[in-house]
């Protein structure tokens, strides 16, 4: 796994390099500033598999660098770890919004680096596998990505979108009080299966991206975090105080989706119909596993539709 680590502090970089090498990560490039990192990225022939960025750097900070790396097509899905001291916690929201995958805390803890990079390495391996699969025959001729019904779909074009893994990592960064102020809400495309089966995996992916865009437009820009969970289900995180009535959110979302009616009609694609689950909040007893609210939000929106079908 080829890693590019960026930090302006020579002491930290030297320590980090020593720890990474001790863990067997010897294919390591380093940069002391955001600009130097971007130069290395543009000059690299073989590219990088993972980035580790210090959050607080003079000039271009790690968040801006993260945003710029995400803007490069080849790195839109590459794992980006943010390196942060506890004092940087306020930057964590911004880092995830800029496309960070995970974070490490300073000072360096070899066990933490080992565990987190282990997960990242698995992600990198999976990415390589899927790239190999895509380069093989049998993929649709137009070259667009085709998705299975339960597959994850990258929402990189959508403001506020992260992958489910990053959303889980974000939840783990919240301390007790912040975790208690966050709600997760599930949104389900009720006719997702039908759209997938009738239109195929490529169109399905595009429809889900359209739905994600509508969700993004519905939510306050500063507070939205949206992830796609597969099977036509989305999960959104937002401040508990702002979540309001889920039915009002559903109505607003339906209005946004209706704007696609004409285009979808011309293409003969059925318009997505959506349902919104009840908001799920972290309870004090679950504070050690805040990511459970994501699973519970998914279960809640599924249960809502089962209940509606039973009552119909």
């Amino acid at each position: 796994m080829k890693i590019l680590a960026v930090d302006d502090d020579p002491d930290f970089m030297a320590v980090f390099k020593t720890v990474l090498e001790d863990l067997g990560h010897t294919d390591l490039a380093t940069a002391s500033s955001g600009q130097e990192a971007l130069d290395l990225i543009s000059q690299s022939v073989s590219g990088f598999d993972c980035f580790i960025l210090d959050v607080q750097m003079p000039g271009m900070d790690g968040i801006e660098l993260c945003r710029q790396i995400r803007g490069i097509e080849a790195y839109k899905d590459t794992p980006i770890m943010m390196n942060t001291a506890v004092a940087d916690r306020d930057y964590i929201d911004a880092a995830f919004a800029a496309g960070a995958t995970d974070y490490l805390t300073k000072p360096v803890d070899e066990m933490e680096v080992k565990a987190r990079l282990g997960v990242i390495e698995k992600l990198v391996t999976e990415r390589l596998r899927s790239q190999i699969a895509l380069s093989h025959p049998g993929i649709e001729a137009y070259g667009g990505a085709s998705y299975g019904f339960l597959d994850g779909i990258p929402l990189k074009r959508v403001e506020g979108a992260v992958d489910l893994f990053s959303m889980g990592n974000y939840l783990k960064t919240l301390g007790l009080f912040r975790a208690l102020t966050v709600s997760a809400i599930g949104i389900r495309v009720v006719n997702a299966r039908s759209i997938h089966d009738l239109e195929g995996g490529h169109v399905f992916g595009e429809v889900m991206i359209d739905v994600a865009t509508c969700i993004s437009d519905c939510l306050k820009p500063s507070h939205r975090m949206i992830a796609y969970a597969g099977g036509g289900i989305f999960v959104c995180l937002m401040p508990r105080a702002e979540i309001g009535d889920p039915e009002a959110l559903a109505d607003r979302l339906r209005e946004y989706i209706l704007e696609f009616e004409e285009v979808y009609g011309e293409l003969g694609i059925q318009l997505p119909t959506i349902s919104v689950g009840v908001p799920i909040t972290v309870r004090a007893a679950q504070i050690n596993s805040p990511t459970r609210i994501v699973d519970e939000a998914i279960a809640a929106v599924k249960a809502r539709d089962v209940y509606a079908a039973t009552m119909a």
Partner: protein
């Protein structure tokens, strides 16, 4: 290679870096003392923006690695100063900031004394 040999290699690697860290602690210590000395000779009642940023940077860099080199108290004091400076909005009185900064300087000096 056994786990203990691997651990020894890491410890040796970090020990080799510690001298460089202590050199930079010396430089930071002198820089922060310089800021405090200037303050003593001025009528400023609050932390000026440039001073706040400079102290925050010195504290940030110290906090990031001190514990890794075995100076966990120094790391905590540096983090406390970094957080104090990060929260300051141009109205932080020196009388409030100074005790934490001096505690950090004391800890820096202790670390330097220990390995001089």
């Amino acid at each position: 290679m056994s786990a203990s040999m691997k651990g020894d290699r890491l410890r040796e690697g970090l020990q080799a870096l510690r001298d460089g860290f202590l050199e930079r602690v010396t430089t930071r210590c002198l820089a922060i003392e310089g800021i405090l000395a200037e303050l003593d000779n001025s009528d400023e009642g609050v932390v000026a923006e440039a001073d706040r940023e400079a102290i925050q940077q010195h504290a940030h860099k110290t906090a990031g690695v001190a514990a890794t080199f075995g100076f966990s108290v120094l790391g905590e004091k540096a983090l406390a100063v970094e957080q104090l400076m990060a929260r300051a909005d141009g109205t932080l009185p020196w009388s409030v900031a100074r005790p934490d900064i001096e505690a950090l300087l004391d800890e820096m000096e202790d670390a330097l004394d220990e390995f001089s």
